[in-house]
């Protein structure tokens, strides 16, 4: 009796909370999606001064954006940076995660904190610090790094790294260590065991890590702010610069392209791996 009463009490509690929960979910969805939807909508407006309702619809802003060299260059720079940052974060993140997930050893916490620190330190602070450091390097060595592509690449690798480390470590920790041992007892050398057993099982986590690393780099604004230079400016900064002087649907068209690229990345990755499982 006692048991059934408890469970019915719990059921009622959950029942009375349900509308609140559903309401909360809807609110969250609206708050996340409404601005995105608005941007996409505005990008098709005919009128130059953004006002509602629009006088008509057009694709001109996309043509205009594509014709502006700063957007084209910014887009290419961001894309290249995203790829480089993702690659670097994989080369560092995969081995780091393999070691971190293997278990406790002295210094493990310290290494993990260090690798995740870029998530915690405010981007603008880290960006400024990196800028000053690179200037010092330049003064000492005469090699210019700040305001070059490779200076940005260092910053973006730092942005990407916590994502790969975090997601790959998570997928390794969920992995039964006995699977590798089973492969070893059956005659597989360590690298073969990794290739045939560990790798296929952590691949979804690695893919998700790479994707998030790319996105984090692609949308970064603060860390790049000090490090961009003439000829090497990332898309988010080009957008900010443009917004300083004019607000017209061109910017909405650029943002829509950005949203579309990221969404496509998420959808494609989700086919290989339920992204929700990586957290």
């Amino acid at each position: 009796m006692a048991v059934s009463r408890t469970s019915s009490v719990r059921a009622t509690t959950a029942g009375s909370f349900r509308p609140v929960m559903i309401g909360g979910c809807i609110l969250a969805f609206v708050m996340v999606l409404a601005p995105l939807a608005a941007i996409v909508w505005v990008s098709f407006f005919e009128n130059k001064i953004i006002s509602f309702p629009p006088t008509g619809y057009t694709l001109d802003w996309y043509r205009a954006a594509a014709a502006m060299p700063q957007f084209r260059d910014g887009f290419v720079t961001s894309l290249k940076l995203g790829v480089v940052a993702t690659l670097v974060s994989m080369f560092v993140g995969v081995p780091a995660a393999l070691v971190l997930a293997r278990g406790r050893f002295s210094g493990r916490e310290a290494i993990q904190s260090l690798l995740l620190a870029p998530l915690i330190v405010p981007g603008i602070v880290a960006g400024a610090a990196l800028y000053m450091f690179l200037i010092e390097v330049e003064l000492a060595s005469g090699v210019q790094v700040a305001m070059t592509f490779w200076g940005l690449a260092i910053a973006h690798s730092l942005i990407a790294l916590p994502w790969t480390v975090r997601l790959i470590t998570a997928s390794l920790i969920g992995l039964d260590p006995q699977l590798k041992e089973a492969a070893l007892t059956m005659g597989a050398r360590p690298f073969t065991a990794f290739r045939l057993v560990t790798w296929p099982l952590i691949r979804p986590g690695v893919v998700a890590g790479a994707l998030f690393a790319f996105i984090a780099s692609f949308v970064d604004l603060e860390k790049s702010l000090f490090l961009v230079g003439p000829g090497v400016t990332t898309l988010p900064i080009v957008i900010v610069n443009y917004l300083e002087w004019s607000i017209d649907p061109t910017i909405a068209a650029v943002a829509t392209v950005q949203i579309a690229i990221i969404s496509a990345g998420l959808v494609v990755t989700d086919r290989y791996f339920k992204l929700a499982r990586a957290f």
């Binding site: 039964d176 006995q178 699977l179 041992e181 089973a182 070893l184 007892t185 059956m186 005659g187 597989a188």
Partner: protein
């Protein structure tokens, strides 16, 4: 199929010694059970034989070949893990084929041997499934097929039945025994379950705190436990501290005195043990000659179907467990509070 020779095997973790000078000779085709409570070092010993844990000292030989320093992939062992450790991303057949693939067995030959191994465990019809689509018992059999398909020198089983329910456990146990003798595999079976060890093994190695307490056939282990630990672990519950009085009697600390056979008992024995199933309980009839007997009161009765478990207490307060077969014991039902005479053959008592 090899013989195994283990000499002075030691595993230390810092100051802690988990396996303490274990020495053992295992004959070709023998079925050995490592029996002991958790933390006794049985799994660590098994892992050292497999090569998954490095030995701190001592040596392991397969058929005279020193394998102590060899990595697991050069030892040719088959290991069935407690959690089976089936590869979740490939089919049952691919799981079983893994060891053959590592040995570069040709495609046709591999297919034939996978079929053979899966038929051996009666799972040929599920070859194309993924492990997660199988029941626990079926997964267990896949793990077994996977470990024997490449004809390992030694088959190692780490608590392979513990995840199965009771009925399935008995079934798989006898199947395992049948396969093992059919294939003539030298097998080591790790378990904490004495019934399991007694029913499958040719010989049992009882371990405690990293040491071997006793090695013997199930019959020897059960009937003549070498130490108090073995006696207790194997299910002996009537233990009385005390000492021999030099006249063929054992005097318990609380004054009770029992006749015992002292021929192979240590003269400084400090514990008397009596198996619960050798104790008889009779209402009011004096015990026959040559029996130790004591008057007692029934305290507790637990009906278990095939047998009934009694706890009786003697006048001096000693508690005694008695297990009576219900076949011998039908009409006269004892109840708590009944006065009885508890007796057992003098040679049924054991001294440590």
């Amino acid at each position: 199929m090899s013989s195994i020779l283990i000499k002075d095997l030691v595993k230390r973790h810092g100051a802690q010694v988990t396996v303490d000078h274990v020495s053992l000779e295992i004959g070709q085709g023998e079925f050995i059970a490592f029996l002991g409570p958790s933390g006794c070092g049985k799994t660590t010993t098994l892992r050292m034989i497999a090569g998954l844990t490095e030995a701190s000292a001592g040596s392991i030989h397969f058929d005279g070949r020193d394998v102590t320093r060899l990595p697991p992939y050069l030892r040719n062992v088959g290991l069935v893990f407690q959690g089976y450790a089936l590869f979740p991303h490939i089919s049952v057949a691919e799981n079983v084929a893994f060891g053959l693939q590592m040995r570069n067995v040709g495609r046709e030959e591999a297919r034939r041997r996978v079929d053979e191994a899966l038929s051996l465990v009666k799972l040929a019809h599920l070859a194309g499934r993924l492990p997660k689509e199988l029941s626990g018992g079926q997964q267990q059999r896949v793990a077994l097929a996977r470990a024997i398909v490449y004809k390992p020198e030694v088959l190692l089983l780490d608590e392979p039945l513990s995840a199965l329910d009771a009925k399935l456990r008995t079934e798989v146990r006898s199947e395992l025994r049948r396969l093992q003798s059919a294939l003539g595999l030298t097998t080591i079976f790790v378990t904490h379950d004495q019934d399991e060890a007694l029913s499958v093994a040719d010989r049992i190695v009882v371990m405690s705190a990293g040491r071997v307490e006793q090695v013997g056939t199930p019959r020897e282990i059960y009937q003549r436990p070498a130490t108090r630990f073995v006696a207790e672990f194997i299910g002996l519950t009537n233990l009385f501290p005390g000492g021999l009085d030099g006249h063929g009697r054992f005097r318990c600390e609380d004054g009770e005195c029992f006749a015992v056979t002292t021929t192979d008992a240590p003269s400084n024995a400090s514990v008397l043990a009596i198996r619960p199933e050798q104790v008889r309980l009779v209402r009011g009839v004096p015990a026959p000659d040559g029996e130790s007997a004591v008057e007692a009161t029934v305290e507790d009765v637990v009906y278990r179907g095939a047998l009934t478990e009694f706890v009786v207490r003697t006048a001096s307060g000693v508690k005694l467990a008695a297990h009576l077969q219900n076949a011998d014991f039908g009409r006269d039902e004892l109840r708590p509070g009944d006065r009885v005479v508890a007796s057992w053959p003098a040679d049924a008592s054991m001294l440590f």
